[in-house]
Symmetry: C3
Subunit: 274 residues, 3 copies
């Protein structure tokens, strides 16, 4: 299904510029390497445009915002837009503070995003300037389940129409949508929420996949979401065999991404389209 996506990653080794938070940055760098890309982190205004210019894509993650990095995000985003490079937004904790919410709005005004990935409460905030965010995890009432799936798909497609971006809403069921097409992905395991950074790592993998597959954003994003979820399932199976806990799970999650390929994903992906 995603054979070409993987071929392009192997061929390109996409260089991904990350302006990201200091909590999960190491996992993000290792995950980009594991999925076949090459990471570069740079957040100073004096260099972000130059760094973006040598990269295949840009990932903006607002997990630990400060005044210095907000300006860098806008500068780098505009440059990536100018170059036609994919720009991915992870609105971590949008809704949890005015700073985060307003920064997301400022970014949406200044930068054209190729993909926006968040949990449902973050995506709601992006959409509406409303939505309840508890911490950086999806609020329990806000999980995407079979129950509210149609409503979430509608939200994703409306936001895609507004922004021109592919929208990825991750939760129990993951939705990847543009205006015309929707992927519903049922990979993943609930233990993924028991380590920090699975969202940030996924966004970075989307950045790598899209950086190597310009013009094929929807499929690249769906492939990344499904691959990440499948790695979570495989890592959980290995966890049980080794009597490990959440930190072993984190190790195995990155391990499986480092051996993921087209045929493994073909066998394990649980994707429907609409």
């Amino acid at each position: 299904m995603f054979e070409k996506v993987f071929e392009n990653i192997d061929r390109t080794i996409p260089l991904v510029h990350n302006i990201t938070n200091y909590v999960t940055v190491n996992d993000v760098a290792n995950m980009i390497l594991a999925c076949g890309g090459s990471p570069i982190m740079a957040d100073d205004m004096a260099e972000v445009e130059e760094i973006t210019s040598i990269c295949n894509s840009l990932v903006i993650n607002i997990g630990t915002l400060n005044d210095r990095t907000i300006h860098s995000m806008i500068l780098a985003g505009k440059k990536a837009n100018e170059l036609g490079n994919p720009v991915i937004l992870d609105p971590v904790g949008a809704g949890a503070s005015k700073l985060r919410t307003n920064t997301v709005y400022e970014l949406l005004n200044e930068v054209k995003f190729t993909v926006i990935r968040g949990n449902i409460s973050e995506i709601k905030t992006v959409y509406a300037g409303s939505g309840s965010t508890q911490g950086v995890d999806a609020s329990i009432e806000d999980l995407v389940t079979n129950h509210n799936l149609d409503e979430m798909i509608e939200l994703a497609q409306r936001l895609s129409r507004r922004t021109g971006a592919v929208i990825a809403i991750t939760g129990e069921i993951d939705i990847v949508a543009d205006e015309k097409k929707v992927y519903m992905i049922r990979n993943g395991h609930e233990i993924m929420s028991k380590i920090t950074g699975t969202g940030c790592m996924l966004t970075a993998v989307i950045g790598a996949y899209c950086g190597a597959n310009k013009g094929d954003t929807l499929d690249s994003t769906a492939a990344a979401v499904s691959a990440m979820g499948l790695c979570g399932e495989l890592a959980y199976e290995k966890l049980l065999k080794t009597n490990g806990g959440t930190s072993s799970f984190r190790t195995f999650l990155i391990d499986y991404m480092s051996v993921m390929n087209h045929s493994l994903l073909e066998k394990g992906s649980k994707i429907e389209t609409r």
Copy 2:
């Protein structure tokens, strides 16, 4: 012994606001998740008060101080005081530089702490504006052992009287004390000093436990200290079986916290009271 402490954590899933250092921040986030809480890291002045307001507790760790974050610590600390939320201080490296020592004094003047946790030389610095700190580890002459236990307990209780905080001094023997009662805890393993961040992680676990157990600070802190030490013992046993080294130990340490519960701690804790 600490059954209610664990029940409250499971029920509350305490959200812990961390203003912390960039060295161990990922371990801290994963450890908070492992112990049953939910972490949020935010250090910009523009959002710290708002973030603290949605959290159950605040952890201030001065491991990589800078001018920007010092102000955020004070703002967040005052807000948490106003809300009656527990505020935990980890005075990492206090005594190693004037910046750290003076920041600790400024924090003590501006913020009322619920718990202060450090090694003996850090706690001495907090107490006296003196004390020799080598790096961020306890100086060898300053380890809490059977030899100087009485003296250390007296120091802890005096500092508790001065500050109103529960004082946790960690070392070969851990002391957790308020004015009236003292726990002496003999869990732990010396290999814990061979990885970075065991102190920071413990302080964060204290933050989670206290956030879910307001009004039961002494017991919550003692439970956290004992649980962390027990995880260290179990992780070391597993290390021997797997022929691992210090990085495997780090993984196992977090693993064991993710499966820790009341009955495991009951069986393994080595606690005396005075």
Copy 3:
């Protein structure tokens, strides 16, 4: 061969001051502990001189530069020079942006370095203000192989003559050289480039070894480079046995450094001199 180097580390437990990037800082701290040193991270202008003064060596890594930390690097570097402490430079990504390249030149003007370690494109940038840098990895055309070994040795020795520093160029073959003597080291495994931070970690180990072995910089650097490569080989062997991926490899890499000693290195090192 390096018996005395290891003896001095065990005896000194060198305290290493790191002004480094936030991507790999946790790995760097754990690797310093694993190799027998003690890390301290501090980057604020208000404390870096004081922190450097209590340390055995200083490691400057420009991986995530910003205006604030550049000044701190210069202040700390000058202080370490004044004290006669080894100062190690890791010019991460030099050549990738003007900020990085110019900062390296400014650092070289202001601070006398004891060791400079980078991949070939970084070292070329340091040497010539030119050189193509893709991301933070060595450009493929720029790997040190048997083919271009003589040329690289000449570059290293010229740069050593210009700067007075021991030069370590790491790649398929590692070169450690001063004006008079060259070590060629064939330890290591290609999977080391599939995790972030192997370069940063190596530079930090060099900082620890040199901090404990003042006046024996060339041998200390060669020992660190060989030990790191050997840990990579051993970690890869263990990876195969455990069906792991790149994140397990990272764990095992640090694990092996934590059990590395003189006799293990004696058996496994692949070093020639010229």
